[in-house]
Amino acid sequence: MVVKLKAIIIKQDRMGINSKMIVKKGVHFFLYLRYCSKDNIYDLCCNKNYRNLEIPLATTDRSFVTNVWDFFCSLKLTLFLLISLALTSIIGTILPQGALPPEYVAQISATKLQIYTKLGFFDMYHSWWFIALLYVFSLNLVSCSIKRLPHVFKFISEPTLVLGEGQRNSFSLKKELSFSGPVEKGKDRLVEFLGKEFSTPVITEQNGEYHLFAQKAAWCRLGVYVVHFSILVIFVGAIIGSLAGYKGYVTIVEGTSVNAFEGRNGQQMPLGFEVLCEKFNVDFYATGAPKEFRSILTILEKGKPVPGYSQVKVIVNEPLTYKGITFYQSSYGQANEGGEHFISVTPKNGGAPEKLTVRDGVVVTLKDGTTFKLLEATQEVRQFAPGFSGPAARIEVTRKGAAPQTFIAFKNFPEVNAQRGDALIFGYEGTNAKQYTGLQVAKDPGVWVVWLGCALMVIGISVAFFMSHKRIWVVVSKGHARMYGNASKNQAGFQMQFEDISEKFHVIKI
């Protein structure tokens, strides 16, 4: 059903938002105009282009398709989605995500576990319902834009050039100028004035009056749509990343190389080249806190180092990228294979020290029947024994017929080793065990799309929040000219500008 708009009465609520429009036969209905700001409505109502606007009346016999369309365009849906996304997101920050730790499984009841698993709570950000929320969110964004963008474009491209009588009363910013000269001259003078003080006006002649219209930054009304579009761009980037990219992990023992890494689901994935770990080191601050985790990596193609990718330092916050694949310093540890430790045993009453080569946890028997084993070793003891530094080992010594004793033997502190009251002095001399470096491996061809989306979002938000569409009308009639001003945002700021222009306007001599 289509009715012709006969009269529109605009009621403003406290917030200056239009809510009611009355059409023929007193039928109340909400127009898409309700989303526009006050001046948009005035423009639309008073612009003769819209005066005979045909508007589909909201009746109960609307088609199903219209209902669905209105549902997806509605701001209520937007609010519902934003709040639902916020609330449901909390679940994933409270429940463990991904592989469940056994302690967690042990403490939760079987039914709960089953329900949570069914609902996808343990991988909720990838669960069907969360993804579905995001899709509906995208659909909502697209529908709203499709519905409103044409109006905004029309608003920008076909501005209200002529102010109707009723419209003029609605302006809070206005100024009048009386002059005695001819209308033509007044018009020319004011066109020049507006051009100089604000922006070049469009001139319309109507009923012996001249209507001058000048505006600035009309396009900033598009800012909010740029923000909405940017969200979609970020989603596209994320989808590209999840389809064409991958993430994984690789450990490389010092002095060895790998040509594959472990993907998220545990399978081995080829790199297409080799990565050699030359060396791994950890530096510490004096406090014992780690200062730098450092891998020295070399990329090999067919067994040969690639120029520019030889002996590259990779630390946290400084990754290495080769052929679109990036390696991030992520963890480290002591490699198991080939781990031999060197222990010196010196009799306290003098005598030559005995050098022994031992393995982790393997019991060694000395000449006098004393047995010992190395429990654990570290190349930097500072974090375990404040005040000490360098390599150290925890060893368990059992004197013949005595209870086992456990203590730490240092490399750099022989005097501390000697202080231990015993007939034998144990010292730790280091290891030939190698360390491994743990690297995150990632390839994400969608990441640039995500950054593009982020840049668009920042630009869009800056425009939408901090720029304002400013408009000035001047109606020149016989004997006087009236100036009206309006801004889409920051009224206070525009008021100052308008008053500034008004003062100059008021003293124009024609």
Binding site: M15, Y35, L75, S89, T93, V316, V450, V458, F465
Partner: protein, 285 residues
Amino acid sequence: MTSSMFFNITTFAYLISTVVFFAFLASKNKSLGIAGSFIAYAGLAVQTVAIALRWKESYDMGVGHAPMSNLYESIVFFSWTIILLFAYIDIRYKYRIVGAFVVPFALLGMAWAQLGMNTGIEPLVPALQSNWLLYHVITCFLGYAAFAVACGISIMYLLRTAMEGTNSSAPAGGLMSMFPPLKVLDDLNYRSIMIGFPLLTLGIITGAAWANYAWGTYWSWDPKETWSLIVWFVYAAFLHARITKGWVGKRAAWLSVIGFAATIFCYLGVNLFLSGLHSYGNSKM
């Protein structure tokens, strides 16, 4: 003079400012309002010096870094940004009384930091050794501060509506007569969030950029990331709510308070109750 002394003076200044603002509320004496603002500004000046000094001290110790690397330093910076934003609102919109509901946030932060936390300068763990730290922390905390200001203003709004609601016959007397009109409070709330939302957006984006640079993934649904997104959703809802009927005024004020509660949880709750990438103290890479 050490930075820690200056921080103590700052805390004291915010305490005096809060007391003076409360006295202003009770007495409606304009000069008390001016005094409250100026004591807060003096505190801000001292705090600025203190932060600069702490920065320098870290270099003197040989572990030079911006003073934004742990909970203590971040909460000090948060207090600083809150007073900075208050100064902006005070100077720009001339509603001094807002101070009575905003300065206490800064006071709480400083008091907690000075009394309950380890104030020592610590070297940067490898994960934080990046220029992104500065951009990320500054944008996030300026955003948080704007939300704190918005929350203070919303509390004023809710107090005023509650008072006016109970005895609608009499014009709000007593304390309420000092408050800006409801429409102004609603507008100030909106303006504060208009400042906070872009900054939070920038904070999330710089965080994502940094995460991608350091770990190879710009978004990993870590609790901190997720909570920052929750905060973003709440304020996005607030902004959209303003253009639909029935979601302005009281409901908008509640959304703003909820938004700030979520912000505080994002900032502190995640670190204290949940585990993740932002547990600064741990030596995770």
